[in-house]
């Protein structure tokens, strides 16, 4: 399959009063045309920053792209100017956000919010624009799209607003849709509907999707590949099967164990020691996960592990995969 997006060694820093926050520390991944991948990790691990970097939406200052390349359709996006990015945003890459309640402009009719974008990126005019917008509202399963077109966001429920956001993001037929935690703010039943809708539209329109989430439960069955991020780095990536059943990184294991299953107390498995992701002003020298890892070794504290390829698709960055690591290195010294 042809590569649509290729992120190479992306580094994004933020200048704050406390110091330079290294939010993304060398992230690389590829995305093929028509493919859906998921980026998972805890809050603050750099998922959203990576996603917003692809559209160059990081406010600067305080944000800065320190290094790396983002090839989209064969072109590097990072050196592009704001004006050039405006022709890509919305047209070639669509984005939906976490909270549909606040992501739509409250003083503007939903239909007009789609129309203003169509007018910017397409040659459609007058009635044709409106027809296209109504068509999109119908496509995302909003009943009465004609009427909905003339309504304001506050007349929509949360699930309907997220549908409207999806309609907007896909209105110009973008090649890539970035969904930044699209279901986190929704009820569980609505979550399933929205994911189903995205899946359906992906198959119908052939849009590639990057799904950002901290919930591995929503990943299975949606994405073909999963990228696990921790402290601004990719720690493991592979097909959904590899990540779910043959994962090698202790962090991936912890994330999977933390997907709630009724009747089991598994929370402790994720945080054997009281822990949060490390601060990224002074990231740890070795593996960023070692303070929370129940299998950490001496080397983990001192040297950053390299990415190791385990199969065509499966990569992991963990010293446990090294040939010298004792098979029984289960116990913390």
């Amino acid at each position: 399959m042809k590569k649509l997006l290729s992120v190479n060694n992306l580094q994004v820093h933020f200048t704050t009063f406390a110091g330079e926050v290294q939010a993304v520390r060398g992230v690389s991944f590829d995305l093929a045309a028509g493919e859906a991948i998921a980026v998972v990790g805890e809050s603050g691990c750099g998922k959203s920053v990576t996603a917003q970097s692809i559209m160059k939406l990081i406010p600067s200052p305080p944000g800065r792209y320190m290094a790396g390349e983002i090839f989209f359709n064969g072109e590097n996006l990072l050196p592009k100017t704001e004006k050039e990015m405006e022709t890509i945003r919305g047209k070639d890459i669509g984005m939906i956000f976490q909270d549909p309640m606040t992501s739509l402009n409250p003083t503007m009719k939903v239909g007009h919010q789609i129309v203003e974008m169509l007018k910017k990126h397409t040659n459609l005019t007058g009635e044709a624009v409106k027809r296209r917008a109504v068509e999109m509202l119908a496509l995302v399963g909003l009943p009465n799209p004609e009427k909905r077109y003339d309504q304001y966001p506050h007349q929509f429920s949360g699930g309907m607003r997220q549908r409207a956001m999806i309609a907007m993001a896909l209105a110009c037929n973008p090649r890539l849709l970035i969904a930044d935690e699209p279901t986190t703010a929704l009820d569980v039943t609505i979550q399933a509907q929205i994911l189903e809708l995205m899946q359906e539209l992906k198959d119908k329109l052939g849009t590639s999707i990057i799904l950002i989430t901290h919930d591995l439960g929503v990943v299975a069955g949606f994405a073909s590949r999963v990228i696990v991020m921790y402290a601004g780095k990719v720690v493991e990536s592979g097909t959904t099967g590899e990540i779910f059943y043959r994962h090698r990184h202790p962090y991936t294991r912890g994330l999977l164990a933390s997907v709630p299953r009724p009747g089991k107390e598994i929370r402790k498995k994720l945080n054997p020691i009281a822990g949060r992701p490390p601060g990224l002003i002074n990231p740890p020298r070795g593996c960023a996960f070692w303070p929370r890892c129940d299998r950490a070794m001496q080397v983990c504290r001192e040297v950053q592990p390299d990415m190791v390829q385990l199969s065509d698709t499966h990569w992991v960055s963990c010293w446990l995969t090294h040939e010298f690591a004792a098979k029984g290195a289960n116990v913390r010294s």
Partner: protein, 310 residues
């Protein structure tokens, strides 16, 4: 909606009646009267005058008579200026005050909104600091001092503008500035903080992700939402400009209604005090009502419904 309007009008009439009653009582409890003066007026003449203007009637009867005339839109004669009714005074003075007030409101909206938006967009740059220092200054200097300073510098020192009176456009500049300073500063600060908040909102990020240009994002998505608190302030703005006009018109010797009002109080010109009070109260309530209607037009989430309908 119809029920809401009916309710609003009823409230306005009730409020007006309350204002009339209270003003009437307070006015009559101030010592002195329209015919008390330093020059000794013979008691008989004073008595005849008071008789002619029904000032010797019992207070209750005077009150009823006044209300009766008011219903017929007759605000009575002035006690101080012969051949002039209160209606004449309002007819003469109000257009002047309205012109000055409109100028001040227009100035404060244009300059205040502009300064607020620019400060927000250039937050922590010199434009922001300059605007906010100016705003804090004009916020803290009372209008009677500012009026004096403006006269001193622009009329006396630089001799650029006429110091007082009314009639030419040059004469309108200084009083407009003096009157607009406070609301301009308030609007600038209000708009700045509102704009800063709006620019942080998710829908601005959405607008960016849609590929809209910065200009469209700021104007269509930013200002359009950030302006809501300013619309709420409009009713209060009218009140503030009106109150300010009492001071500014007196200082600049502008023959507006505000100046008449101040003079009438000094003169104990009962009918003028009452008349202007009633007129201004009705005017303010009407303005506030219009602002509420305007709010519906600006914010689609707000609907005018009677509480019982919900």
């Amino acid at each position: 909606m119809a029920q809401y309007l009916l309710r609003r009008v009823t409230t306005i009439i009730l409020a007006l009646w309350l204002i009339i009653t209270v003003t009437f009582l307070i006015m009559h409890s101030i010592p002195g009267g329209p015919f008390a003066s330093e020059k000794k007026v013979p008691d008989v003449i004073k008595h005849n005058l008071e008789e002619r203007y029904h000032l010797n009637d019992p207070l209750g009867k005077q009150y009823i008579d006044y209300l009766n005339h008011l219903v017929h839109l007759d605000l009575g004669p002035s006690f101080k200026y012969e051949y002039r009714t209160v209606n004449d005074i309002i007819k003469e003075g109000f257009p002047v005050s309205a012109t000055l007030g409109s100028l001040a409101i227009a100035f404060s909206l244009v300059v205040g909104l502009l300064a607020g938006v620019i400060s927000a967009l250039r937050q922590n740059h010199w434009q922001d600091y300059l605007a906010m220092v100016l705003a804090t200054l004009s916020f803290s200097v009372p209008s009677f001092i500012l009026s004096g300073l403006l006269m001193y510098f622009f009329a006396y020192k630089l001799q650029l503008l006429p110091p007082a009176m009314w009639g030419t456009w040059q004469q309108a500049i200084l009083p407009t500035l003096a009157l607009a300073a406070l609301p301009t500063a308030f609007i600038a600060r209000l708009m700045r903080s509102s704009m800063l908040e709006v620019l942080q909102q998710d829908y601005i990020k959405t607008a960016r992700a849609k590929g809209l240009s910065e200009r469209v994002i700021v104007l269509r998505h930013g200002v359009r939402n950030a302006i809501l608190p300013v619309v709420t302030y409009l009713g209060f703005l009218v009140t503030e400009v009106l109150l300010g006009s009492f001071v500014v018109e007196s200082i600049f010797a502008i023959p507006g209604l505000g100046r008449w009002f101040v003079i009438s109080i000094l003169n104990r010109d009962y009918t003028v005090i009452l008349g202007v009070t009633v007129f201004y109260s009705a005017f303010l309530m009407l303005m506030n009502f219009l602002v509420d209607l305007a709010y519906v037009a600006v914010d689609p989430r707000i609907k005018l419904v009677d509480r019982k309908d919900v």
